[in-house]
């Protein structure tokens, strides 16, 4: 993980609040997209990702400087998003017609919607891996780093997720 992260964090801990903007700029896109894949709503993803940064800032003293920043931050963000959904007592809304106001005309929206519904119906662990890989396009190595798991366990998790997904897709006739 980038050396600059540590430099930023040390500056923030030394009292330079502005230095936190380095961290925010580096990870805001990832944070937003991650929140978006969990809560399925732009406005909420925007707010929740900001809140996660604020929470990280407030807990920065507890952060272990020998470890990478992003996986730590990811746990904060994920917990924030999941508790948001629990409070709302609503599962991730899956019927999005394209995102960010862009309509992807080329893809068959009905089919894509069915696939999204099937992914949303998977258990949390399986859904998380598929989200990271297919919604957000991380490499398997990056996924292992983010989840702080050995790559072997990511691959077996993915294998299981794929089998489950295939069953669901077949039920829907895809």
């Amino acid at each position: 993980m980038p050396v600059e992260d540590n430099a930023c964090i040390q500056a923030v801990l030394a009292g330079d609040k502005e230095a936190f903007s380095g961290i925010v700029e580096r990870y805001r896109k990832r944070a937003f997209l991650m929140a978006y894949t969990i809560v399925r709503n732009e406005q909420d993803a925007y707010d929740l990702s900001q809140e996660a940064f604020i929470r990280a800032y407030r807990n920065l003293k507890k952060f272990d400087l020998d470890r990478p920043f992003f996986p730590w931050f990811y746990r904060i963000l994920k917990n924030r998003c999941l508790s948001f959904l629990r409070k709302r007592k609503q599962l991730a809304e899956v019927s999005i017609e394209g995102v960010f106001g862009l309509k992807s005309a080329e893809i068959d929206l009905d089919r894509a919607r069915l696939v999204r519904e099937c992914i949303a119906a998977l258990p949390e662990n399986a859904r998380e891996i598929l989200n990271l890989r297919y919604y957000q396009g991380y490499s398997y190595r990056e996924i292992a780093d983010i989840l702080e798991k050995p790559i072997g366990s990511v691959m077996s998790g993915l294998f299981y997720a794929r089998k489950k997904l295939k069953e669901l897709l077949q039920e829907k006739g895809l």
Binding site: S21, T37, Q43, F100, V115, Y135, S139, L174
Partner: protein, 149 residues
């Protein structure tokens, strides 16, 4: 030697070009001789095709206008809010106290009722402050929405 399960778990790494060269050779040798793992590779490719359209586009750059300042303001604001809330609660409570002062001084009113009235006053003060804060907070959020259109 890799068994079928291992090969099938490694197929995604192979397809993505993330498998170390030594393992690529081993995996290809296995595929050559194993019908069911070749089938699995085919299935995997089909699934990847189906999942490819899910990839989220990059959000537009305007999304980040005000993103950092929104965070920074809230980082700064916490102490401000705490002082504001505390001050407002004290003032409201004091105002309420003055309002019911006469009743509190009246020796014919039982102490239990006096305490009850004071707690109601304190509760109202806290509720009022929290509602005011919530209103201010929501107005701020709506401003983001306009910026992002």
């Amino acid at each position: 030697m890799m068994n079928h399960q291992e090969v099938q778990e490694k197929i995604p790494l192979y397809v993505a070009g993330e498998l170390p060269a030594v393992e690529v050779a081993e995996l290809e040798a296995h595929l050559e001789s194993c019908e069911s793992c070749r089938h699995e590779l085919e299935e995997f490719r089909k699934m990847e095709e189906m999942l490819a359209p899910l990839r989220l586009p990059d959000p537009p750059d305007e999304l980040w206008d005000g993103y950092w300042s929104g965070i920074y303001n809230r980082m700064e604001r916490r102490l401000g809010w705490m002082l504001f809330s505390l001050g407002a609660i004290v003032l409201l409570f004091f105002g309420f106290y003055r309002l019911v002062e006469g009743m509190l001084a009246d020796p014919t009113v039982p102490p239990l009722i006096k305490w009850g009235v004071l707690f109601i006053g304190g509760g109202l003060a806290i509720l009022l402050v929290s509602v005011i804060r919530e209103q201010l907070f929501h107005r701020k959020n709506e401003r983001y929405r306009e910026v992002r259109r």
